[in-house]
Amino acid sequence: MSPKTILDELGQRGLLTREQQTAIADIEDERPFSVHFELRSILYVGILLFAMGFGLLIYDNIDRISHSAVVITMSVLCALCFAFAWYYRPPMSNRHVKSQSPFGDYALILGCLLFLTLEGYLQYQYNLFGERYGLVTIIPAVLFLILAYRFDHRGVLSMALVALISWIGVTIRPLNLYFKGNFFDLKITFSAIILSLVLIGAGMFLERQLIKRHFTFTYLTIAGNLLLLALVAGVFNFDDLRIMFALGLAAACFLFDRYARYNYARRGRSRREKAFLYALMSSIYGYIGFTYLLFHYMEPNNYVGTLYFLLTGIGLVMYLLHYRRTLVTT
């Protein structure tokens, strides 16, 4: 329904005064149409395409004279982006602060993307880091982490965390997270678990210190998913250590659930919603792990198996339906 219909309805019922009605009607008549989201999406897609195109361009022209021109242009652009972001930098603060220009955040993202391409190119062409591939990913990780805190940018923080995850050898992408993770390697699986624990610990510690508390959610979703994924992968892939991974998974799910409850009890309404994400993560990963263990060890026949899905499905639905109620009472 249009605001006008609702206004009339409320007016007829005498729920708004006549002056209010006229005032609201005037505001609604003149309310401009906001294209904030659309314009920023265009800008963001433009930045991604530009960085992507430049990244390809640099390799396209690798043997030509124009090549060095491309590299120089790119370096200058990268520096300009960082300079722009720095010029309009937000004030130094542990709280949530914003760049002084609406484009500061975007310049920073573009700068970071160009930096990645440039760094990759230097390694490709000049073998700058030699065989020390770890350096190639740890450098942007550290740089982005610093930038994220100085410029208060959650997007760059995500980039930093993912670069850290790449550093320990896990290829991780949101859209093929579950298929490309190389969790068949025990060393990588353990590194992922340790890294995610360190990141979660760091996120929690910084929250306690009241340093950029709005970053905690980014830490917990990225590192939390990595942790739970690595543990589930451990349960799936390593026969000898299955029980250990299973116990770890159970503990992690339990702690996520506790944290959801803690968050729900403490935080304001807007952040309460996020508590439900932790509850969802713990129930989904926990369910996958538990189901796998059950089918692996018990090898139930078809009847028991289907009955299991029927009953556990209902059970989890009931659990989630009443989750809010259990939260309020704890």
Binding site: I27, F37, M52, G53, L57, L116, T117, F309, L310
Partner: protein, 397 residues
């Protein structure tokens, strides 16, 4: 007779608007409290994240139950009549259960009811189709399914089933025209006409219902408008008609050759006109009528048109094309953002509540993660080129 309480849905709309005015300081606290009391909404309230979990686990439970019953009755279910009956009866049973959830548990799109309505509809449609003889053509199967899908949409106003309903209509028309003499020309034109007609229908229906203060099907009709406008755009696109449609019409072609070997199509000038004309038209409608749907589709359509043109007549290599396109987008959006700081011509850059801010932040993060993922060095080799996977809405949860 409808499944959900119509009055509550209507009240919810009023309260949402009143809350918005309240946030803007136009309605005071006590007034809002009175409004909430006058327009009660007694639906069960769940968080979006919990709803995702509820949907998933409801599907798990329903599938488990379906498989278990199928196993138990497997001796009886040898014949197609029995199988069909089994599906339909189970579907009806689930329907009764959903009725209980809605009436007694106050559910309204809480994940459980969405999942079970979709599951029920699937069972009913499968049951009916099992009864049809094996050689029944696809269009007749769609035709038989349509009344079921329509009835479910009418009763629940459900979005997933609305998606199925519209897909069934298009599949029906496609299959009917598939064997005609000039299918490759007829299909896109008929599909476009169909889309325009269905869009008009959905729009008129939506407007007339709203004017009667009926918002029960608003979401479903809104989805219908998005789908029909998108399909109008797609079916007019030269690349789609030349490559994708010709492949769909002759699926025996091998896949690798399909997207490059297709020959010139009839009336190609017309489809080139559509490729660029429809997005322009959408843009015009979007700006003059201030319609978000048209504006967004105009942007996507223009991107599609440019990509199509590059594919056939472009000379620039991909790298240059991407760089230039990206640069143009940046150079369009920055001045516009600066220009619209102050409202002009009824447009503004100030975010309002219609802008999905949260989604945007997420999209930004997902994109950043995709991009950063390319820092992974290939094992034992030098570092490779930038590989930025497509961003888009992540379906992680």
């Amino acid at each position: 007779m409808k499944a959900y309480n119509e009055e509550w849905i209507y009240n919810r709309e009023i309260i949402n608007q009143a809350q918005r005015w309240h946030r803007e300081g136009l309605v005071n606290d006590s007034q809002l409290a009175v409004i909430k009391e006058t327009y009660p909404v007694k639906f069960r309230d769940t968080s979006a994240f919990v709803e995702i979990g509820l949907f998933l686990f409801s599907i798990v439970a329903a599938s488990g139950g379906y498989a278990l019953l199928g196993l138990i009755l497997s001796d009886v279910l040898q014949e197609s009549f029995a199988t069909g009956l089994f599906n339909i009866l189970l579907g009806i049973g689930i329907g009764f259960f959903v009725e209980f959830l809605i009436r007694k548990q106050g559910m309204f799109r809480n994940g459980v009811d969405n999942a079970l309505i979709a599951f029920m509809t699937a069972l009913l449609v499968i049951g009916l189709n099992v009864w049809l003889p094996d050689e029944t053509p696809v269009w007749s199967r769609c035709l038989v399914s349509l009344p079921v899908l329509f009835a479910v949409v009418w009763y629940y106003g459900d979005l997933i089933v609305m998606f199925g309903l519209i897909s069934a209509v298009y599949t029906l028309v496609f299959d009917l025209l598939n064997d005609t003499a000039s299918a490759d020309l007829l299909i896109p034109l008929v599909m476009m006409a169909l889309s325009a007609g269905l869009y008009w229908l959905a729009l008129r229906l939506d407007l007339s219902l709203r004017s009667k203060k009926n918002v029960y099907w608003s979401d479903a009709l809104n989805l219908a408008q998005w789908m029909t406008l998108s399909l109008l755009l797609i079916n007019g696109n030269y690349f789609f008609v030349r490559e994708v449609l010709s492949f769909l019409l002759k699926p025996d072609l091998n896949l690798r050759g399909a997207f490059s070997g297709a020959s010139e199509i009839a009336l190609s000038w017309l489809f080139w006109l559509f490729t660029f004309g429809i997005p322009l038209l959408y843009g015009f409608i979007g700006t003059t009528r201030k319609n978000r749907m048209f504006l967004i589709l105009a942007c996507l359509g223009t991107a599609g048109a440019i990509a199509t043109a590059r594919n056939y007549i472009g000379v620039l290599p991909w790298s240059v094309h991407l760089t230039v396109s990206g640069l143009i987008l940046v150079l369009i959006s920055i001045p516009l953002i600066r220009y619209l700081r102050e409202p002009r011509y009824g447009f503004t850059d100030v975010p309002d509540e219609d802008s999905p801010k949260e989604f945007f932040l997420d999209a930004e993060t997902v994109g950043a993660i995709q991009a950063a993922a390319s820092t992974q060095p290939p094992k034992g080799l030098s570092y490779g080129g930038g590989d930025f996977g497509g961003g888009g809405a992540g379906k992680e949860y």
